[in-house]
Symmetry: C2
Subunit: 134 residues, 2 copies
């Protein structure tokens, strides 16, 4: 396992994260889904596995429909090989007016498709305290 | 990215999952933590990142302390290279009497350390519905 620090792959993954954040900020669920492989998978809490770009589009459109207007990704670690890498990072979701709606951490499996790196497996967990029943 | 189907690595990862489940079933938090790399990380919901074997031991001992007596892992996908792989799977946690306490899905980054594969990054999310405040 080679560290991709300074490599083209690392820069391309950073650029892909920028595309994700830009699309999210535009409310463009199709643009967000385009960051994933055709057989990409999401593993959200309180849900079964979500697979494929159509289902991924629907998922992110649903998140946007709850009033989430922005996603910020902070990469902590990228390791991998020529066409396959994993990333660990932190995320924050913001609602209207920039207030924090959620924050947590994520693990993404990236796969290279030609010149582009795409998100192949995407899983995250909130770092906020559990909501306890009132 | 090579599929590890049929390879020694795939069998070793399956054996490592068996060690995890066996240790869990014995209530042996140290044995569970021994399945992780020295700088392994967990990403539980409602928590910051947990890093290192001591913290990982404490985490799993805490889970066992809530009455969880068993963990069942079902591997769905293992892909990787010579010393690094990812796995997607489903888990179920059981409480006393074998009743299901939680079930969900996970992504694990495995790293080879000598002959042994160890869990390097471990993240999972419940598939149960969200608990809504009463």
């Amino acid at each position: 396992m080679a560290t991709l620090t300074g490599s083209a792959a690392r820069e391309e993954i950073a650029a892909a994260n920028e595309r994700f954040m830009d699309a999210f900020g535009r409310g463009d669920a199709d643009g967000v889904a385009a960051c994933y492989t055709a057989d990409g998978q999401l593993f959200p809490a309180n849900s079964d596995i979500i697979q494929g770009q159509a289902a991924i589009t629907t998922f992110w459109r649903g998140v946007m429909g709850t009033g989430i207007t922005g996603a910020r990704l902070q990469s902590l670690e990228v390791q991998g090989e020529s066409d396959f890498a994993y990333e660990v990072g932190r995320y924050a979701l913001t609602a209207g007016g920039g207030q924090e709606a959620d924050r947590g951490k994520y693990v993404v499996i990236w796969r290279r498709e030609g010149a582009r790196w795409k998100i192949h497996r995407d899983i995250w967990t909130t770092s906020l305290p559990a909501q306890t029943p009132a």
